[in-house]
Each structure stands twice: as structure tokens, then as C-alpha cells.
């Protein structure tokens, strides 16, 4: 006589939940600082209920069965929120894998007289829970990736300040590598400020750019070209000796671009372009 595993598990729901909670609470990785035990119990109960509601004798081996959709959904939600809250992968994994322990324990106790069914049940439940484990990690990593993407956006946003150094002169210190996405942000930012402030000279300081290869140079040339199309002039400053060397060795032609060694030199040049004169005030001589 074969017993229906799904029915059996449903009947033992309370025991399973208790076992599961106990093993979670006993785990060294319990994060009471991130989530209260009540909240944990609530999450656990929700997942277990949806799982027990979903399984039937037939779909136990079919992970894609429709009945599992809510289970996956709840699990994904939990994993993502854990990723955001700062749980480690191990702590997130323990959540699902301790459920497996609880389920298996129940099966072993209940089916100890029916070795054959027990064997089969162990294998199926193992597979099912492993699948849930995989989903947990997939969504956990996705959650982390979202965090990273958001941070990338933020970094791109904050790392390209445009400074108005004088009436009609903008300076833009670039720090870090210039890739094409970054160049786009820099260019947009710079051109927008040129329009807003009506500036005619922009100084692009690249002393914070670790290396200039032909691709980076290409991006700089593009930025200069776009600035000129708008009707402003662009000076590149902060050409360090190493940069000068690589530029020449790579055969990059910067002859159409105004370049200066330092931001100060560029500013001086900008002043002369605007026909401004900076002078030290002479102390009035006593007669």
C-alpha cells in the first residue's frame, strides 16, 4: 500500500513548521538584528503553506507545474528582500535548506515502516527543495545586481560635477576611467551646463583619469567636437607625462585639440581668450 506523501505532509504541517523554526533559530547565522523572530515565523509559515497547498501526488516531480507558481513567487520575494536587507547568501540559503531538513525529518518518522515509499519520498522532496534552493540563489543574486546597478547609476551621476570657475568658463574634472557610457553622461552634463550658463569655454581636466588609450582619446575627441558644435571651445588639461607618452606612442592625433598641462594653465589660457587680465594688486607705496 502506498501512502500519499503530499497528504501526509499537509497533515503534519504544524510539526514541520515547528521543526523548521527550531532549526532556524538554532542556526548560528540567525540574524535577529535584521529580522525579528516573529517576522521570520510569518515568512516561514507563508512559504510552507503555499508549498503544502501546491503539492499533490502528481505534480511532486513536475517543478514547472502551475501550482508551484505562488511558491516561487513568495520565495523570490523573500530572497530579493533579503538581498536588499544585506543578508549573506549563506543566511539566505539556510532558510530554504533548513525547511528541507524539517520535511525530511517528518518523512523519516512517519514512514519508518514503509522503507520503499520513504526512499522515493526522500528523493522527490530532495529534488523539489533543491530546486527551491536554486531559485533562492538566482533571485538573491538578481536582487544584489539591482543594488549594484543602482549604485553604478549613482556613481555616474555624482562623479561628473561641472563647476563654473568664472563667468563664461566651466571646469569639469574627470575622475576614473572614461568608458562610452560615462562619456555620454559627461558630455550631456557639460553641454547642458554650457547652455544654462552661456559659457563659451569648457576645461576638461583629465588628471584623474588613470590611463588614456585610443578609446578614451576617441571619447575625449568626441566631447570636444560636440562642444565646438554648440559654439563653445574646449580645453583639455591635466595631461600627465605618462599620458603624453602613451598618446604619442599610440599615434593618437590630438593636434586639433587645445591641451594644457595643468588646470591653472588652462584657466590662464581661457582668461586670455576672453581677454581678461588677472593682476596682483600693488600695495600703495608710501610717499
Amino acid at each position: 500500500m502506498k501512502q500519499d506523501i503530499s497528504k501526509l505532509l499537509q497533515k503534519k504541517r504544524k510539526n514541520i513548521l515547528e521543526d523548521w523554526m527550531n532549526s532556524q533559530l538554532a542556526d548560528a547565522g540567525l540574524r535577529e538584528d535584521l529580522m525579528s523572530n516573529d517576522e521570520l515565523r510569518e515568512q516561514s509559515a507563508e512559504l510552507l503553506d503555499s508549498l503544502l497547498k501546491g503539492i499533490t501526488e502528481k505534480n511532486l516531480t513536475d517543478f514547472n507545474a502551475e501550482a508551484f507558481a505562488p511558491v516561487y513567487e513568495i520565495l523570490s520575494g523573500i530572497s530579493i528582500s533579503r538581498a536588499r536587507q544585506g543578508f549573506s547568501p549563506r543566511e539566505t540559503g539556510v532558510f530554504v535548506f533548513s525547511l528541507k531538513d524539517a520535511l525530511l525529518k517528518t518523512l523519516v518518522t512517519e514512514l519508518q515502516n514503509d522503507q520503499e515509499t520513504l526512499m522515493q519520498a526522500l528523493v522527490t522532496i530532495n529534488k523539489l527543495l533543491d530546486n527551491l534552493g536554486i531559485i533562492t540563489f538566482e533571485t538573491f543574486i538578481k536582487g544584489r545586481e539591482e543594488v549594484i546597478l543602482r549604485q553604478t547609476d549613482e556613481i555616474a551621476e555624482i562623479s561628473t560635477p561641472v563647476i563654473q570657475v568664472w563667468d563664461g568658463i566651466l571646469a569639469l574634472p574627470i575622475i576614473g576611467t572614461l568608458d562610452s557610457a560615462r562619456t555620454q553622461v559627461v558630455m550631456e552634463n557639460l553641454l547642458q551646463h554650457i547652455v544654462e550658463t552661456g559659457s563659451t569655454i569648457a576645461i576638461l581636466d583629465i588628471s584623474g583619469v588613470p590611463a588614456v588609450d585610443s578609446l578614451v582619446a576617441q571619447h575625449i575627441i568626441k566631447t570636444v567636437a560636440a562642444t565646438r558644435l554648440m559654439g563653445a571651445e574646449c580645453i583639455i588639461s591635466g595631461i600627465r607625462p605618462e599620458i603624453a607618452q602613451t598618446v604619442v606612442h599610440l599615434g593618437i592625433d590630438l593636434s586639433n585639440i587645445m591641451t594644457k598641462a595643468t588646470l591653472a594653465n588652462a584657466l590662464k589660457h581661457a582668461f586670455s581668450m576672453l581677454r581678461l587680465d588677472v593682476k596682483r594688486i600693488q600695495k600703495e607705496k608710501e610717499k
Binding site: 555620454q184 550631456e188 553641454l191 547652455v195 565646438r228 558644435l229 554648440m230 559654439g231
Partner: protein, 136 residues
């Protein structure tokens, strides 16, 4: 047939493009402007494209052409008010607008034209009066 109006202001011709152009309109503008430069003896052409949301290779070529044609008729051309997004797109497209000067806005464009002309000629100061032709 639709036409873009060309205004005359002293030694300069002013064009403000207020609508997105289809190709025929742009070609007409090129022809009209060259004729106007000839007829009025204008020394400078100012084209305001601040209302243009896109400039593609055709429009870019027309602007370049106007600049080159005006230059061999002894007039300088300045394109003013290009939108940042348009400038970025033109660079990506690979178009440089050779033959025309650029300026941020009409005011700066006029200043640039005046300086250019001051550099070029120093004698003719007497032609602002007389021939008040209409634009058509």
C-alpha cells in the same frame, strides 16, 4: 510652397528655423539664402537652429553647403543655438559642419560675425543705407 523666411538686418541675413524641416524645405532654404547673399551683398549669415530637435546628415550637409557657398561669395556663416542632444548626435553620426562657425545663441553669434567682418574689411562703412529690398 512652404518657405523659411530670411530677414535682412544691415550687413547680415537672419534665418530662424522654427519647424522640423523636410528635405525639400531645406534645399529651398539653401537656394534662397545663396540668392539673398548675392542680392543684398550680405557679409554674414546667421542661422538659428535652437528649435530644431534633430539634425540628420542631410540637414547637416545643407548647413555645411550654405557655409561653403556663402564663403566663396565673401560672407561668413554662423549656426547658433544647437541643442546639446543634437550636438552629441551629430558627433556620433560623424558630421562636423565644416565651413560654418557656431555660437551658443543669437547674441554671441552676432558678436562673432561682427568680429569676423571687422577682421576682414576696414573700408566699407557706408553701405548700410540705401537699397532696402524686401525679403521676397
Amino acid at each position: 510652397m512652404d518657405r523659411i523666411p530670411i530677414l535682412r538686418m544691415g550687413k547680415f541675413l537672419l534665418v530662424t528655423i522654427q519647424i522640423d524641416l523636410y528635405d525639400r524645405l531645406a534645399t529651398n532654404l539653401e537656394t534662397d539664402l545663396v540668392y539673398m547673399v548675392n542680392k543684398t551683398g550680405a557679409k554674414g549669415v546667421l542661422i538659428d537652429i535652437s528649435a530644431l530637435s534633430i539634425v540628420d546628415s542631410f540637414m547637416g550637409r545643407i548647413l555645411g553647403n550654405i557655409g561653403s557657398m556663402a564663403r566663396i561669395m565673401d560672407a561668413e556663416t554662423v549656426v547658433v543655438g544647437m541643442q546639446p542632444a543634437v550636438a552629441i548626435t551629430l558627433v556620433e553620426l560623424g558630421l562636423e559642419l565644416k565651413g560654418v562657425h557656431t555660437a551658443l545663441n543669437v547674441e554671441k553669434g552676432m558678436e562673432l560675425l561682427r568680429n569676423k567682418i571687422k577682421d576682414l574689411d576696414y573700408e566699407e562703412e557706408d553701405e548700410i543705407e540705401a537699397n532696402e529690398d524686401s525679403t521676397e
